[in-house]
């Protein structure tokens, strides 16, 4: 038996399977199961991927409907060009890859083949924002910034398995193209605790509060709710508004909440450039409100590689960092 002191086990960037907290309630592969359910009712639905079926939870759909699943190879331009072709024949494709490849590599194909003719193609983007520790090649910190400029495209940033399950049939039913920021693997189940249903294009008030209003999307709504609980211990009363549809944005609901004396904070798993913060800010300015909005978002820089918990702490997405920021703002 060795007598040398064991070094502490390092956190590694391979810890990407789930961002769920230990012991948190989760649902496995919600997109795959939701697609199977939707496809049972809607024969137009087909699945496509670019060599990332297993890694975007599409394998569940492929197993249930092998004749409706099409492997396009590691070829994202073909994936989305072909998805347009499928849609032109009346089918409703859900085409999956990682967000970085959809947003950066295949933009021209999404823009001209899908968005310009306003086809019902549903883009499923894995690893949105900072949900992998693999560094800038895999981290789509700016995916919404890239996509918000594309006319006709609906952008959905779901919080949890509830959002994904409820969004899928609505995405299939909506006429034009959509982009879903996929959460994969064992995805936290959070919103079932609230009086909430996902409605495409709508923001929802999840909880009220007198001191602070959080406007959040994606997994940051989970963090917003946790931070609201933590801030209650500091006698700070926080409201949370979940805005999963980034475009078209439900400015009416959000501005009604923001236009108060409360501290307004946006929280997003995305760069501070071009995402939820700027969406809210432009709505505030357009409405002529002289209201300050504080962003919790990723910095405008290429992010580090590493373990997700480390990186979320480093870049301010963790609950303790959110709490500290709010307390500092409140002085």
């Amino acid at each position: 038996m060795s007598t040398t002191t064991k070094a502490p086990k390092l956190k590694t960037s391979a810890m990407i399977a789930s961002f769920a907290d230990p012991g948190q309630k989760t649902a496995p592969a919600p997109i795959g199961h939701a697609l199977v359910k939707a496809a049972e009712a809607d024969h137009r639905i087909v699945g496509l991927t670019a060599d990332l079926g297993k890694y975007t939870d599409m394998h569940i759909f492929a197993k249930a409907f092998p004749e409706r699943f099409f492997q396009m190879g590691m070829a994202e331009q073909l994936l989305f060009g072909a998805a347009a072709g499928f849609a032109e024949t009346g089918l409703v494709p859900f085409a999956s890859t990682y967000s970085v490849f959809a947003a950066r590599r295949a933009y021209d194909f999404l823009c001209l083949d899908i968005a310009e003719p306003n086809l019902n193609v549903n883009i499923v983007g894995g690893l949105p924002g900072l949900t992998t520790g693999y560094g800038p090649s895999h981290q789509a910190a700016e995916d919404m910034a890239i996509f918000r400029g594309m006319p006709n495209l609906t952008i959905v940033d779901p919080c949890d398995s509830v959002d994904i399950e409820q969004a899928v049939p609505q995405l299939a039913a909506s006429d034009g193209p959509t982009y879903l920021r996929l959460l994969r693997g064992n995805v936290p189940t959070v919103l079932d605790e609230y009086d909430y249903t996902f409605e495409l294009g709508k923001a929802k008030v999840l909880r009220g509060g007198n001191d602070v209003v959080f406007v959040s999307s994606g997994l940051m709504t989970m963090r917003a709710l946790q931070a609201a609980e933590a801030l209650a211990a500091h006698k700070v009363d926080v409201a949370v508004v979940h805005a999963p549809t980034i475009k078209p944005f439900d400015a009416a609901t959000v501005l009604a909440e923001v236009n108060t004396d409360r501290l307004a904070v946006t929280l997003e798993n995305h760069s501070v450039v071009g995402g939820l913060f700027e969406t809210v800010a432009s709505a505030v300015v357009t409405a002529g409100l002289g209201k300050r909005v504080v962003p919790v978002a990723l910095p405008d820089e290429f992010l580090d590689a590493g373990a997700l918990p480390t990186l979320h702490e480093r870049y301010g997405l963790s609950v303790p960092r959110i709490v500290a920021k709010v307390l500092a703002e409140l002085g």
């Binding site: 409706r68 072909a82 072709g85 032109e88 024949t89 494709p93 021209d108 003719p117």
Partner: protein, 297 residues
């Protein structure tokens, strides 16, 4: 002459009659293209003249469509990837009876259904928005898969240029078509050896083109794209040799920019050919003289 049709086959027609019919259609397409170019005073007339025989072979012989119902679900699809060839495509759509001949004079004008670069959202019978090059074949792959999935016998044709062989997406799609055994997919490549910055072999060498497509698993044929008989024979070969075994086909068509109008054939080749105001009538006369001469032989 409208050629509304559900089927490309014409009973009782021999090869000579078939060639003559398609050649006459190509002549009218060239004539339309010159008229459109004159209205604008510019345009991709050289390309349209060069590709007119390809357009004619498709619209007057291969495609199943209904002129009065361009969205007919059972139609064969023709995808123009090379958006700036729209002038030739509009001429073919007029020849097919899908777009009225008198509308052609609006080409490239404000509020026209016939923009300079072809778009599906503007023009009946235009299946895709081309122009950003290297897209057409990828969309064609999805269309062919989608049609097959739904049990449709419809075929898909993609017209692309040799310049589009520079685009990596073309080759992604070529692999995808072979992998998925798309026997009802036919690509037509207009090899005029010219692209925006000059001759293809000086911009980015694409040869050997035939061998490339064969290596990607396609049934490849290279023909004189201005020889109607050769084009039709190539389509027949593709149907007999490749379609039945689920192999995609490509017809590589060597064409001459400005074909049919000696004045333009001999002019220095350019992506955007300049034609002076007084020359349009001369072009039409040369086109007609050449066609009449051929008809007399």
């Amino acid at each position: 002459m409208a050629l509304a049709q559900d089927t490309p086959t014409r009973t009782g027609e021999n090869t000579v009659e078939r060639n003559e019919r398609v050649t006459a259609a190509a002549h009218r397409i060239r004539h339309h293209a010159l008229n459109m170019g004159e209205v604008q005073g510019q345009g991709y007339v050289g390309q349209a003249l060069g590709a007119a025989d390809m357009f004619a072979a498709v619209y007057a012989d291969q495609l199943r469509f209904r002129a009065d119902d361009p969205e007919w679900a059972g139609r064969d699809r023709f995808l123009l990837s090379t958006g700036h060839y729209a002038i030739g495509h509009y001429a073919a759509l007029a020849e097919a009876g899908i777009v009225p001949v008198e509308e052609l004079e609006t080409y490239g004008s404000d509020d026209s259904r016939l923009p300079m670069s072809g778009m599906s959202t503007y023009t009946p019978g235009m299946e895709i928005s081309g122009g950003s090059l290297g897209h057409g074949l990828a969309v064609a792959v999805g269309m062919a898969l989608g049609l097959r999935h739904q049990g449709s016998p419809a075929r898909v044709y993609n017209f692309l240029s040799d310049g589009e062989l520079d685009e990596g997406s073309t080759w992604e799609a070529a692999m995808g078509a072979h992998h998925h055994q798309l026997g009802k997919l036919t690509a037509m490549v207009d090899i005029n050896a010219l692209q925006a910055d000059g001759k293809t072999d000086t911009v980015l060498r694409t040869e050997p083109v035939t061998e490339k497509w064969e290596a990607f698993g396609w049934y490849a044929q290279r023909v004189d794209g201005n020889d109607v008989g050769a084009l039709l024979a190539a389509f027949d070969n593709a149907a007999a040799q490749a379609a039945a075994v689920g192999r995609p086909s490509v017809i590589l068509c060597d064409t001459k920019v400005g074909r049919g109008v000696p004045l333009l054939e001999e002019r220095e080749k350019a992506h955007f050919m300049r034609i002076e105001e007084h020359e349009w009538q001369l072009c039409r006369e040369q086109l007609s003289a050449g066609f009449d001469g051929k008809a007399e032989r």
